[in-house]
């Protein structure tokens, strides 16, 4: 904790000198802008979250090399919530109340975000959340730079339905909030497109499930009914590795039953021998194999920063890249790091993404993203086989769930509401059963 004390020291010094009227206000401006990083560096989620911490640190370093922001240096304040959901709330409080950070980049799992949410709202902080999630949420203090279901799951299903001709669907997921909500949305979506109940199989497994024999065998039986079958996988993180291995060993290849995954990226594939997986799909808004100069520059910088020639980049990293430039742009626009000013300034801000286009912050605090479908290659990379013709704006409230269909979110004045019910014409209308279970 020594670094924190040291960091606090000039703060205290400046304040006391100011009160004595000794020091000119210009000195206080020299104080660095504090960027909080709230990612697990230990525990189960460290596997995914450590790279995001490194990404933000790299972005801060780059920004400082360009002369900082508003003439001030940026300083990273890193805390470790250790994959412990209640600890996320405590650490967020520490960042906002003690460290007085100007912005937080952090969280991976939905449950950790839900735990941080009341703290960020109470202390009026700014949180940039970089991971694809289940939607059904819009907070005044949170900016969702990852994909909402309509920016990942729905387009992926569209692709399978229209371009691959899939008629039977296995919705397989890990048993927690993101897969359950996403699958609920997908089921409603599929049924609205005339898929019958018996052509949908839903399956949930516990976290870290490693024995996939029976499930893969069931999927195989389900898929040998003469209709093209696909698996839509919301299986979390590294439970995918034994799942894919079992698929390969039981002889299911992508040509028979393709698996499209929403949580498998380059990072997860570094832990597997990808040869048996060639052709299985993933839907993201960014792949490391995107062929643009901006992306190659980012990769080169990342490899240089990590010192690992084999280091990979992934979608949440790009989300932080976008989130960081949006925040920096908004601070420049507002001329201050003051939270309310930045919150207002950031809506409508548009910055380049890594896939050759622009990402814009929408009034519902979600951003516009292209949707890419990639097939796994034998070198652990994805080959992009399809993409949306233009970017898709994130939808906080799904149009396919009965409770959330009527809700919209708009944080601009004068509405300033995260769940405005257009039928009832009032804010805070989302209390139906479905929204409740989704949360």
């Amino acid at each position: 904790m020594t670094p924190r004390r040291l960091a606090l020291c000039p703060h205290w010094l400046a304040a006391s000198l100011l009160s004595l009227g000794v020091v000119a206000p210009a000195m206080a401006q020299e104080e660095p802008i504090k960027v909080g990083i709230l990612h697990s560096l230990s525990g189960t989620m460290a596997i995914s979250e450590t790279v995001l911490k490194d990404t933000v640190e790299m972005l801060i370093e780059q920004q400082n090399a360009r002369g900082g922001l508003l003439g001030r240096e940026l300083e990273a304040v890193v805390v470790d919530p250790a994959s412990d959901w209640p600890l996320f709330a405590e650490k967020a409080r520490e960042l906002l109340a003690q460290e007085k950070v100007d912005v937080i980049f952090g969280n991976w799992t939905s449950v950790s975000r839900k735990s941080v949410l009341p703290v960020v709202e109470e202390l009026n902080g700014l949180l940039f959340y970089p991971v694809q999630y289940e939607g059904e949420e819009s907070s005044e203090n949170v900016f969702y730079t990852g994909a909402a279901p309509n920016q990942q799951a729905i387009p992926a299903v569209d692709y399978l339905m229209n371009n691959v001709g899939v008629e039977r669907w296995v919705l397989a997921g890990t048993d927690y909030v993101y897969p359950r909500t996403t699958n609920k949305i997908l089921e409603a979506y599929l049924k609205s497109h005339g898929v019958s109940d018996q052509d949908i199989m839903v399956n949930y497994t516990p976290f870290g499930h490693s024995d996939w024999q029976n499930i893969v065998s069931e999927i195989k039986a389900f898929g040998s009914q003469g209709k093209k079958t696909a698996v839509v996988s919301t299986i979390n993180g590294d439970a995918n590795v034994p799942f894919y291995r079992e698929l390969g060993n039981q002889g299911i290849d992508a040509a028979d039953i393709p698996v499209v995954a929403f949580s498998v990226g380059e990072q997860e594939l570094t832990g597997i021998d990808t040869a048996p997986l060639v052709g299985h799909l993933a839907a993201w808004n960014y792949f490391m194999s995107v062929d643009t100069d901006a992306n190659y520059d980012f990769i080169d910088a990342w490899i240089e920063y990590t010192g690992d020639d084999m280091a990979v980049t992934n979608d949440p990293m790009e989300a932080h890249y976008i989130g960081f430039s949006m925040w920096a742009e908004a601070v420049r626009k507002a001329g201050t790091t003051e939270v309310d000013a930045v919150k207002d300034a950031i809506i409508g801000v548009s910055v380049p993404n890594l896939s050759g286009g622009y990402a814009a912050m929408m009034p519902n605090h979600h951003i516009t993203k292209p949707v890419l479908i990639g097939e796994i290659q034998d070198n652990g990379q994805f080959s992009i086989v399809w993409e949306t013709p233009s970017t898709v704006a994130g939808d906080a409230w799904s149009d396919y769930l009965p409770g959330s269909r009527d809700l919209i979110s708009d944080w601009r004045k004068p509405m300033q509401c995260g769940n405005y019910n257009v039928v009832e014409g009032s804010c805070g209308g989302g209390t139906s059963e479905d929204v409740a279970t989704a949360e």
Partner: protein, 532 residues
Amino acid sequence: MRIPDSLCRLVVLCLLAWLPWVAQAQDDPGQTLLESLDTTSYVEKGEAIEAIIASGDERSRRWLEALLGGKLQRHKASGQFVVVLENRGRHWPVVDALGFEEAGEMSRRELDRIGINNALRGQLQGALAVLDLHADEVDERREAARALLGDIDATLAEPLQALIDSEEDGEVRRLLEQALAIHRLGQGEMAAVEDLAGSLNSRVRAALSSASRSDDPQLAQAAGAALVDIEQKMKLNRGLETLYFGLSLGSVLVLAAIGLAITFGVMGVINMAHGELIMLGAYTTWAMQQLLPGQPGLALLLAIPAGFLVAALAGVAIERGVIQFLKGRPLETLLATFGVSLILQQLVRTVISPQNRTVVSPDWMSGSIMINEGLSLTLNRLYVLGFALVVFAGLMLVMRRTRLGLEVRAVTQNRAMARSMGIRATRVDILTFALGAGVAGLAGVALSQLTNVGPNLGQNYIIDSFMVVVFGGVGNLWGTLVAGMSLGVINQVLEPWAGAVLAKIVVLVFIILFIQKRPRGLFPQKGRAAEG
């Protein structure tokens, strides 16, 4: 996934290859062929692939293979087509795609990949399979014929018939006939149902099941009847399969638990760091594979003794460093070893990486062996099952037939008496703990073939391990074997009905009830040992 006219054209192209104009072409015709591949439309790419097959160019096989592997790329600036030899990292060695001479290194930034999708991959695999039907090796021909099941279209049907007549191998003939029958069934031919009846192949079942939904009521009925018959046969297979799944899960549980059966069961030490000892074994496998690149099989074999040693040494360190000071204080031991487990996890995260490590499966452990067309056993799990039994037998031998085993039993039954008989109890403690830890390391080596090798590996198995040991009866190795296997089978039988989450809960509830009824587990120790 169809293979439009490939075989038919192949025959034609063989003739074409002799035609003089091909040789007379001044420019390399390959350039034009490859150029037509460089398009964003997958339909056009499909046509270009057809054209390559039809061209009869002797390089076409290499092109198609490179395309299939995503290795066929184009230099952005010069437009030169190259085949990438190794596509990891940022700079790739390449060869020219026309002359196949070396063309140095090119960076990812300079190259444009000729991408394919699953449909094209199917088309390419089909085309290559058709070529493979002419291979000299019987196995290759069988593989190719199997790949063609369900992928035959009208243009292929006729030349295939000719191939069947000239084929020597019965199995290949049978497969090709089946493939043809599936095609005929698709055309609505009644006789095809008879040819397919009784086959357990999943593609045959898929074809019959779509025929049973056909508009022709007679065909639908016949196909339906054939399907019912097949389903009947499949029932036995499914039963066997579930049993295999259960035994395989059971063998994993036994492997994870058996080291604990020694440290906890025999010595009475509650070692919460047991899972991390398993993790160390798995990391040893990874380290061995790093030391011996390109020889995953040898590395895996060497990892067996190495994993045992590493985990045993770590076990000795834990015993000497922590446990010996806490003898007879189970609660403190539990907390202290839990602390050790956290330290070990974080150590691996900091020193190696928080990311999972890739452990490659050697070829002889990938895939499955086919018992019949409806039942195949996955090889990696078969090996693990065998390995678990060998480890168990070895451990039984050590405990029953060696001096160490005798001393261990003596010390655990009556420490004071054993010491007065001249047994050095401290030495026995160390060796026993090392043995238990080493076996955990062996479990890690086996698990590296089934699951992720990462810092969290151990956590996933610690609860299961204790469950198995307690259920089997503390202090009884046979109990651990029977408990592990039966829990595995129960779990797998329940899973299709209840789902994975509920099956786990049901098993836990079952164990709680069982322990209520028989607190000492399946095989309680009897006599004085039980009181000790």
